[in-house]
């Protein structure tokens, strides 16, 4: 029992789950921060990618450390990658259309829907 618990905590040599989760959290909040503050739609899109990727990494890591030998988390991360690809394609299409329409990809030019 004791041994098993120890095994679970140290799966990759010298790296615990907390370190990796800290890393993905930092990545997530960088993405959130970028999403809030970037003035360019492309940069916002990149920030969204960061958020998604941090989530995907979380899935993989938690699957690896908590339920070794199962595949649920891995499959979800693959889903997220597929969704992210689709989302990127969609967002880029919107951005390109917007550019055609108003010759700009700046967020401050998109404030028409207000009070």
């Amino acid at each position: 029992m004791q041994k098993q618990k120890k095994n679970r905590c140290i799966m990759i040599n010298g790296v615990s789950i907390y370190e990796i989760l800290t890393l993905t959290s930092i990545m997530f909040f960088i993405g959130v921060y970028g999403f809030f503050t970037r003035k360019n739609l492309i940069a916002m899109l990149v920030s969204v990618e960061l958020i998604l990727n941090s989530a995907a990494v979380n899935f993989v890591i938690i699957n690896k450390y908590m339920f070794p030998g199962k595949l649920g988390g891995d499959i979800f991360s693959i889903f997220i990658i597929a969704v992210a690809a689709a989302e990127t394609a969609l967002a880029l299409a919107i951005i390109i259309n917007l550019y055609r329409l108003i010759m700009s990809v700046k967020t401050k030019d998109l404030e028409t829907m207000k009070y």
Binding site: F35, F36, T107, K108, K114
Partner: protein
């Protein structure tokens, strides 16, 4: 049976909805056709009720033909709609459709070429529907509903010439005055039903039930609450029936088209008050030994005298008839007031209904005749008339019949009913009898003043030669003249009585002779004054001086009302209320609105249109909530 009120309703809806499509004569034919069917059904039912199935073991049955729950609040409190057939409603089933039918036919001629022909017929049908619903009601709440409906149709028909200012004012006045009276009716109805626990007529007029009510009622200012409720209900009836002091609307209501005056303001709607008191008669009689009934008697007696005095001096022929109507309804009320209960004691009740019946006939006839005269002369005032007997022979004869009938000259209808009323009053109360007796003479005088002034007097030069009215107008006149002449021979006491069993009346020759005598005296005076053009009446008027002036101005009651409403109520009560409304109530509401605007000005910056801002609010909100949840769950 249920078709009786529903056909006029259907006609009203048809004409009302398609009033632009249906052209002038067609709508009249539709209306007349509908009313013909209704009248035939009603006459058939009423007559077979009286002669065939109504009388079982010497007593008329109260038959509920149809009843359904309209609004169901609780098992005790529910409002039903239905049709009640008893002698009272059967009599009304003859009166209302007959007069309405005649008026429908007459209007084909009278209203020809007037604007709004279809609208006129639509409202006539609405009125007929409401009146039939009223007289067939099974409970007091249903009566109240139809009561208001007749008020509305009366309002829209008085204001039929809505481009004329006086007509609009008259319509408004009629509506407000009767509505004010109906407030009393509503309060009385609520009090009554609160203490009685039912709206139903069959229960309310049950004698045992009334005795239990008598025993348990709360008292207020020395009288039982039920008596107060009845007096308030009578107030509603007095408003509709133009009893003093709520009579002021009726003379002005003559602004409406003359057929309307004949139908609504002479024959049917204005007797609704009498009908209501008669409906609740056992209550009026038995609750606290009939204190409420005394009120009815004295109000009726006063009104009959008051209106007759005013009628002596008026020049507008329709107004003379209007005051005469008030006076005759006063007669009916006083007859109810002096009535007792049971076989012969209930003579006044029977006489009242009888007079209602005959009065409807001859007063509708008088009004329709007046309509034919106005149609021919294009004026309402007797100064513009005279010598019309040569020009309008049919109108002349029918008008004479009606005038004889209302004056109580045998063998015309009015003699019989008036004699019964005076006989009943004589047994009960000499003062009331004397009032009625004097009024009988005055009635004869002013009716023949009208008659001679229109048809004899002198031979003025008419700009347009007056011509007899078309057939559509004279035929109803003839039918009504027939009724006015002979309906007195109906043995009414075999049909209507307080305790629903027939009894026999006989003419009291002494009293009848006296009243005929005073009627003849009135007529002779009228002959003296008005047969040939002379200045006797003017000299007489001058001799009376101030009294004549007061009477001519209807005792300044209208002015008194104006004074009370404008100077006292509007100034001292309504004006502060208006101030309160404008400044406090509206101020509060405006304050709420203004502060909302102010706050939203301040915070509208939040709605920036930047998706990033929204996302940030969302995430920070989510964060705060999750921190709170975390904090709560950890404790």
């Amino acid at each position: 049976m249920i078709l009786i009120p529903l056909i006029p309703l259907a006609v009203f809806l048809l004409l009302g909805i398609f009033f632009r499509r249906i052209k002038e004569p067609v709508s009249g034919y539709i209306g007349v056709a509908g009313l013909t069917i209704v009248s035939l059904i009603s006459f058939y039912i009423a007559i077979s009720y009286f002669l065939d199935f109504g009388l079982v073991n010497g007593e008329y049955q109260k038959i509920i033909v149809f009843r359904s729950t309209w609004i169901h609040f609780t098992d005790n409190l529910k409002i039903e709609m239905g049709i009640l057939l008893d002698p009272l409603s059967a009599v009304m089933l003859i009166v209302v459709p007959l007069i309405s039918w005649m008026v429908h036919i007459y209007s084909l001629g009278y209203m020809k070429g007037e604007g709004g022909f279809t609208r006129f017929y639509a409202f006539l049908s609405l009125f007929t529907f409401s009146m039939l619903g009223l007289v067939l009601s099974v409970n007091i709440f249903q009566i109240y509903i139809f009561w208001e409906l007749v008020g509305v149709s009366s309002y829209s028909l008085i204001g039929f010439y809505y481009k004329k200012k006086s007509a609009v004012l008259a319509a408004k006045k009629a509506f407000i005055v009767t509505r004010f009276a109906d407030l009393g009716f509503l309060i009385g109805l609520l009090i009554l039903s609160y203490f009685a626990g039912t709206f139903d007529f069959l229960t309310l007029t049950n004698l045992d039930f009334i005795q239990t009510l008598n025993g348990q009622a709360v008292t207020f200012m020395g009288l039982s609450v039920i008596t107060w409720a009845l007096i308030l209900i009578f107030m509603g009836g007095a408003g509709k029936s133009a009893m003093f002091p709520l009579h002021i609307w009726l003379p002005d209501a003559m602004e409406g088209p003359t057929p309307v005056s004949a139908l609504i303001h002479a024959a049917t709607m204005v007797v609704a008050g009498v009908f209501l008191v008669a409906r609740l008669f056992p209550m009026f009689y038995f609750i606290e030994d009939g204190i409420a009934l005394e009120v009815v008697a004295y109000v009726g007696a006063f009104t009959t005298l008051f209106a007759a005095v005013i009628a002596l001096t008026q020049y507008d022929i329709k107004r003379v008839l209007a005051f005469s109507t008030m006076s005759q309804i006063g007669y009916m009320m006083l007859a109810l007031g002096v009535s007792g209960y049971g076989e012969h004691e209930g003579l006044g009740y029977m006489a009242s209904m009888f007079h209602l019946f005959t009065h409807a006939m001859f007063k509708a006839l008088l009004f329709l005749g007046a309509g034919a005269i106005i149609h021919a002369v294009h004026s309402n005032f007797m100064q513009d008339m005279g010598g019309l007997r040569k020009h309008l022979p049919v109108t002349h004869i029918t008008f004479l019949v009606a005038a004889l009938a209302i004056s109580g000259i045998p063998p015309f209808a009015g003699f019989f009913s008036k004699d019964e009323i005076l006989a009943a009053a004589f047994e009960h109360n000499k003062l009331i009898w004397f009032t009625g007796f004097i009024v009988a003479g005055m009635t004869a005088f002013y009716m023949f003043r009208l008659y001679f002034r229109i048809f004899w007097w002198n031979d003025p030069e008419y700009k347009h030669k007056p011509h007899e009215a078309p057939k559509t107008m004279t035929v109803p006149l003839m039918i009504l003249a027939f009724m006015a002449a002979f309906s007195g021979f109906i043995p009414f006491s075999d049909f209507v009585s307080t305790d629903y069993s027939p009894f026999h009346t006989h003419i009291e020759w002494g009293l009848a002779g006296a009243s005929v005598g005073i009627g003849v005296l009135g007529i002779l005076l009228a002959v003296l004054f008005y047969k040939k053009e002379n200045d006797l009446s003017d000299r007489f008027a001058r001799a009376f001086g101030i009294f004549y002036k007061w009477t001519f101005n209807k005792f300044y009651i209208d002015e008194l009302y104006f004074f009370i409403t404008k100077k006292i109520i509007f100034k001292n009560i309504s004006a502060p209320f208006a101030w309160f409304d404008r400044h406090i109530v509206d101020g509060t509401m405006n304050g709420i609105g203004n502060s909302t605007v102010w706050i939203s000005e301040k915070i509208k910056g939040l709605q920036s249109g930047r998706v990033q801002d929204y996302a940030m609010y969302f995430v920070s909100g989510a964060t705060v909530i999750s921190m709170i949840l975390w904090f709560l769950l950890n404790n």
